[in-house]
C-alpha cells in the first residue's frame, strides 16, 4: 500500500492555551474520500487549518507525503471568511487557483483563459467570466471557488463546510464534482453537517469532538452509540480544564 497522503501524529492545536484539538492520531489514505463530522466547536475547521499549515500545532505534527504541501493541497475556506463585496471579477478569482503558473508578473495568457472558461463550465457557470463576484448568489460564489480548485488541480483537496447555506441544486452539482475527484484518485477531505449526505457519498468518516471519537469506514463510525458519545462530549466541554497531563510530558 502507498504511503498515507496525510498523517496526523498526536496533533494538538490550541488557541491561547485552550486546546481546540487534542492528541489526534491517524492518516488519510491516498485516494480516500473522508467526511469530518462533529458538533459545533469540535475543532473540525481547526483540523483542516492545521493540515493546510494556517495554524501551528501546539504539539505533535502533520506529515504529508508530498514534498511540496502547498502545491499539492487545495483548500476551500468557509464562505464567511471571504469578503464577497470585494470588487473582483469571476475570471480573476478563478485565475488565483493557477497563481503559481501565472506568477507574480504575468497576465492571463490565452491557454490560461481556456482553462478558466473550462473550469467555469465544469461548475455550470458558462459565460460568467466577466461578472463581478459581488453580483453572485452564495451558491454561484461557491461554484466559483470550486472552479478555482479545479485550476489548482491538486492531488489533495480539503473542503471546509462546502455545502453550508448552499441551495440543493448547487449542492448536488458540487457533490458530483467531489465524486469526480474521488474517481480521479485524489484525496478529498470535507467538513460536513448532513449525516445522511455523509452516509450516501463519503466512504470514510472522522468523528471529532475536540478529540478523536472514531475514524474509519462510515458505516462503522456513524453508529448511534458513537453519535451519542459525540453529543455528550459537546455538552460537557470544560473551559477551565486543568493543564493536560499528557501535554506536560
Amino acid at each position: 500500500m502507498a504511503a498515507p497522503a496525510i498523517m496526523l501524529e498526536n496533533l494538538t492545536v490550541a488557541y491561547d492555551r485552550h486546546p481546540a484539538l487534542r492528541h489526534i492520531c491517524g492518516c488519510f489514505e491516498p485516494g480516500s474520500l473522508t467526511a469530518i463530522v462533529g458538533p459545533n466547536g469540535a475543532g473540525k475547521s481547526t483540523l483542516l487549518k492545521a493540515v493546510v499549515g494556517l495554524l501551528d500545532p501546539a504539539e505533535g505534527c502533520v506529515r504529508c507525503a508530498s514534498a511540496d504541501r502547498r502545491r499539492d493541497l487545495a483548500y476551500l475556506p468557509q464562505q464567511a471568511e471571504i469578503d464577497r463585496s470585494f470588487p473582483i471579477s469571476v475570471m480573476d478569482t478563478v485565475a488565483a487557483g493557477a497563481w503559481r503558473d501565472i506568477g507574480v508578473l504575468g497576465g492571463i495568457a490565452s491557454g490560461m483563459r481556456r482553462r478558466i472558461v473550462d473550469a467555469l463550465s465544469a461548475v455550470g457557470l458558462d459565460g460568467f467570466e466577466r461578472r463581478s463576484v459581488g453580483s453572485l448568489s452564495a451558491g454561484q460564489f461557491q461554484r466559483v471557488l470550486f472552479a478555482r480548485m479545479l485550476l489548482q488541480s491538486a492531488p489533495i483537496i480539503l473542503l471546509d463546510e462546502p455545502f453550508t447555506a448552499i441551495d440543493a441544486r448547487t449542492t448536488a452539482d458540487l457533490l458530483a464534482l467531489v465524486q469526480r475527484w474521488h474517481g480521479e484518485a485524489r484525496t478529498v477531505v470535507a467538513v460536513l453537517h448532513d449525516i445522511e449526505q455523509v452516509r450516501q457519498y463519503f466512504p470514510q468518516t472522522l468523528l471529532l469532538a475536540r478529540k478523536l471519537i472514531a475514524w474509519g469506514l462510515t458505516g462503522e463510525v456513524l453508529t448511534s452509540a458513537n453519535l451519542r458519545v459525540m453529543r455528550r462530549m459537546s455538552e460537557s466541554w470544560d473551559e477551565d480544564a486543568e493543564l493536560c497531563a499528557r501535554a506536560a510530558v
Partner: protein, 291 residues
Amino acid sequence: MASLHLTIVAPFQDYGFMRRALVACFALSIGSGPIGVLLLLRRMSLVGDALSHAVLPGAAVGFLVAGLSLWGMTTGGFVAGLIVAMLAGAVSRNTALREDASFAGFYLASLALGVLLVSTHGSNIDLLHILFGTILAVDNTALYLVGGIASVSTLVLLAIYRPLVLECFDPGFLRAVGGRGSIYHLIFLVLVVLNLVAGFQALGTLMAVGLMMLPAAASRFWANEVWTMALVAIAVGFLSGFLGLVASYRFGLPSGPAIVLAASLFYVASILVGRRNGLLRQHWPARHLAA
C-alpha cells in the same frame, strides 16, 4: 466659447507655476489613486492619515540637518514613515492589538515627537510653513521627485498586483497556496509612505491624504474591479487637481484646499449618482438585464 478658453486653458498657457502644479497633480493622482483604492479595500483608510502625520518628525529632522533641502526632508520623512509603518505592522502581527490601533499608537507618538522637534530645536522659524508645502511652489526638482515616485509606485504595483489583490480578498487562500502575504503587505506599506512623502512635498500632509483617499472612495461607486477602480481614482484625482487649480485661479481660493474640496465634491456626487449603489440608483434602479 472664448470665455471658457479664458477660464480653463489660458491660466495654464500663461503661467509656468500653473502648468507645474497641474503636472504635479497628475503625477500625484497616478501614484496615490491606486494606493488609496487598495487602502480602502484593505479597510485601512485611516492608516493613510496616520502615516501622513508620522512623516512629520522625519521631515523635521531632515530640515534641521540639511536645511531647506528637498532631498533631506524627503529622506527624513520617508524613513520616519517607514519606521512607524514597520513597527505598527510588527506589533499588530505579533500581539493582539489590531493594525489600526497600533498605527494610531505609533503615529501619535511620532507626531508628538515631530511637534517637539519643531518647537524646541534650532531657530523658531515657522517650520510648519516649510513642512506643509503648497502646490503653487512646486519647482522642477520637486516635480521630478513626485513624478519619479509615481512611476516607481506604478511599476511596483503592477508587479505585485495579483498577490496584493488576492491578499486583500482571500488572505487565507494566498497563505495556503504558499504566497507570502506579509511580504506584499510590507511592499505595499512602503509604497503608501513613498506616495505620502511625494504628496506632502507638493500639497502638505492633510491635502496629500485627501488626494489619496477621496478619489478612491468615489471610485467605489463607479467600478467593480480593483484595476478599474484605480483608473477611476486616477481620473477623479486629476480632474480634482485641474478644477481645484482653476477655481483657485478664478476665485482666489487657496489652492490646496480648493483641490481637496473638488475631490470631496466628486465623492459626494458619486455617493448620490454613482452607478454602483449610488443613493439615486437605489431609488430609481436601472432596467435590469434580460437574463
